[in-house]
Amino acid sequence: MPQSDQPLQPATFWILFALATGDKHGYAIMRETRKLSDGEFEMGPATLYTSIQRLLDSAWIEEVSGPDEGDRRRRYYHLAKTGKEALQSEMKRMEALVRKSKALRLWPMESKS
């Protein structure tokens, strides 16, 4: 798991971001990441569950009980406090990057024609 001052891996970032909008099962996380990234980021089941496994081990997310009428094979995941802090830290890092690039007039990028 990356240190809090290091950029998060894309899969880690998008899973935390998806769970920030509410508890979800695996497939719902995949759909939410696709939606949040406007289709720019997609991952398959192996990347999803390898990342979920690491996030559970680090206690950034936790397993919670789902709706009673749901498929019993599904497990639901919840963004834990440490995960929320990591996500906020990543967003602050991104915001600082954009602010700095604007100050240096590197953003918005001018297209060369």
């Binding site: 695996g26 497939y27 398959g44 089941p45 192996a46 990347t47 496994q53 094979r73 599904r74």
Partner: protein, 133 residues
Amino acid sequence: MNTQIYGWLVGFYPADLRRDFGEEMVLVFAEELRDADAMGKARVWRRALGEFLRLAPSNWAAHPALRVPAISLAFAILSLATEGAMHYITGEQARYVFASLLPTSAPVVIPLTVMWACRNRGMTALNLADKDR
């Protein structure tokens, strides 16, 4: 059929991932296929195979018994991909893909698989998963 093949591939992932999430991985894969159109299904498979080649090899090094079938599988996938591309380019009949798969991959796949089977009697990728439990 798609789900069965993917379930078989899951058998080659690291034991702890299979044990904790194998069933969910197959479930998610089935849901992705269910919701995808024809082009989407091809994309789902391409991504699944890409992940497989990227993530599963770390497990093969850890389990010597998996190395030979893994190499055989890699040859089979490579042959399928090559023949699939030839089929796409030349527009030959679809059966050409499977017919030509045998002569291109059999000399490698069959001896390696027999060697592996002799050395690891009764042990397959899937019952290895049970053994790890």
